[in-house]
Every structure is written in structure tokens, then in C-alpha cells.
């Protein structure tokens, strides 16, 4: 019977898309670029992974490709976030007024 497996797959998809939704909400609510990147990276990684596992339950014959997508995601997502954050810092993107410390700017001799 595929019934139970379909339900598990659908629930995983639902959980995944919920995290993606929260990630989107975080993009709107977070106070500055860096915090937005944080919301974007984490929620999308787990959200997409859960979605992939969910699809894996619904279409087991795609498993190998889904695994490949997952591996690429795990390696590229943090890297792109990191490069975005670095670019933001180098071009001195405005930080939230609630920002408490910036060791990088201190070490570069910039105004924090």
C-alpha cells in the first residue's frame, strides 16, 4: 500500500515548505542584510532538504538525483551566503542599529 508512504511524503513536503515560508518571513522581518542572509540560509537549507526527502517518499525512483541535489545544496548554500555577507561587509552595507559588535571592522581599522 502506498497510502501511508504518500502521507509521510506529503507531511515532509509540508514541513519543508513551512520552513521556506518562515525563511521568507524572516527576510521581511530581520533588521539588516546580515540577519536576512541568516534567515535565508538556514530556513532554505532545511526547508529544501525536507522537501527533497518528501519528494523522495513520493517518487522513490528519483532518490539518487534528489540525494545529489541535496549534496550540492549543502555545499553551495553556505558558500554563497558567506560570499554575499563578505561582499556586503566590504561595501560597508548599513548594519542594524541593534548591532552590538563588529570585530571585522575593528580589525580592518574602520568605523564599527
Amino acid at each position: 500500500m502506498g497510502g501511508l508512504i504518500d502521507i509521510v511524503g506529503a507531511l515532509l513536503l509540508l514541513a519543508g515548505t513551512t520552513f521556506l515560508l518562515l525563511g521568507g518571513l524572516g527576510m521581511v522581518r530581520m533588521p539588516d542584510t546580515y540577519n536576512r542572509i541568516q534567515a535565508g540560509t538556514k530556513a532554505t537549507t532545511l526547508g529544501t532538504l525536507l522537501s527533497l526527502v518528501g519528494v523522495g517518499f513520493l517518487h522513490p525512483e528519483w532518490s539518487l538525483k534528489l540525494l545529489l541535489i541535496g549534496v550540492f545544496l549543502l555545499f553551495t548554500n553556505p558558500l554563497s551566503s558567506q560570499v554575499l555577507a563578505r561582499a556586503a561587509h566590504r561595501t560597508r552595507v548599513r548594519k542594524s542599529p541593534t548591532n552590538v559588535v563588529d570585530r571585522l571592522a575593528e580589525d580592518l581599522g574602520e568605523e564599527p
Binding site: R29, M30, D32, I37, L64, F75, Q82, S96, L104
Partner: protein, 172 residues
């Protein structure tokens, strides 16, 4: 790690990268038909030769049983932290007063290898409220949604120590 000459090191790297790319290719095309394998082999070899100084998944990985065990435990820890970080961030996002206390702190890594440092930086980016902004030698600058400690020693302990313990064994 075994003492090897730069030449055989470079050769080993090309072979490892080639095999990794071939594995990906086979997973992607999902068939073992000879002409497809041949296309994959040619392209993989080209890329492996072109990027001989680049990094791949198993670059600098220590081929020992303890490194393998550390690898398994590392991924277990990683996925637990990933789930935890998502839940914590989700809690911050949905709370009406948005309890953030952001800042960029500095931590110091013990890891020497390039791949070890890359994995650490990536792991930090994917774990609770932390994002690697810049890597400069042994120093990592990490953006935190909620800063707990601005002291280098304590921040390192809080952010990196768990992962470092395993990555140390895996890559050194």
C-alpha cells in the same frame, strides 16, 4: 597524513577529483551505458586536470578508520545542529518583538588544512544563528543573530569547538 611529494600529491588530487565527478555524473544520468560513461569520463578528466589545485570532497581527507568514525559523528552533529538552528531562528522570526542582538565576533580555529577550514566555515554558517563573513588565515569572523560573548576564546568555544573536534581528526 602520509608524507608525499608534491607531485604525487597533485596526482592523487586529480584522481580523487576525477572519481568524485564521475560519481556525480553517474548519479545524474542514472545509467551505465558505455557512451554516456565515456562522455562523463572525458569531461571529468578535463575538469580534474583544469582544477588540479582546487578542492573536492575528499581533498586532504585522512584515510584512517578514526577519520571515518569522526566523519559519521560529524554529520550526525551537523544535521542535529541544522535542525536546531532552523527551529531557533523560526522562533525568533515569529516572535512579535524580534529578539535579536546581532554582531560580528572573531574566533580562532586550530585547523590547518584548507578543506578543514572550509568545512568549519560552512558548518558555522549552517548552525544556530551564525554566519561566517570573512576567513583570514586562522581567524574567522562570524556574524551572530544573538551575540553571547565577544571574547575570542569564549566565542570559539561556543561556536566552533563542537565541529572542530571532529574536523581535526578528519582533515587536520
Amino acid at each position: 597524513m602520509m608524507q608525499t611529494s608534491p607531485r604525487s600529491d597533485s596526482l592523487r588530487h586529480i584522481v580523487v577529483l576525477f572519481l568524485t565527478l564521475m560519481l556525480f555524473w553517474v548519479m545524474l544520468v542514472d545509467s551505465l551505458v558505455p557512451d554516456r560513461l565515456a562522455i562523463g569520463a572525458v569531461v571529468s578528466l578535463g575538469i580534474a586536470l583544469f582544477y588540479r589545485d582546487g578542492l573536492s570532497f575528499f581533498t586532504e581527507f585522512r584515510v584512517t578508520p578514526s577519520a571515518f568514525v569522526a566523519g559519521v559523528r560529524y554529520y550526525a552533529l551537523f544535521f542535529r545542529k541544522l535542525a536546531e538552528s532552523n527551529l531557533r531562528l523560526a522562533a525568533i522570526i515569529v516572535s512579535p518583538d524580534l529578539p535579536v542582538r546581532p554582531g560580528i565576533v572573531k574566533i580562532r580555529t586550530q585547523l590547518k588544512s584548507r578543506m578543514g577550514r572550509l568545512m568549519l566555515a560552512n558548518s558555522i554558517t549552517l548552525t544556530p544563528g551564525t554566519l561566517t563573513v570573512e576567513v583570514s588565515g586562522e581567524w574567522l569572523y562570524v556574524h551572530c543573530v544573538t551575540v553571547d560573548s565577544t571574547d575570542v576564546m569564549r566565542a570559539t568555544e561556543e561556536i566552533a569547538a563542537d565541529f572542530e573536534r571532529y574536523l581535526e581528526v578528519m582533515y587536520g
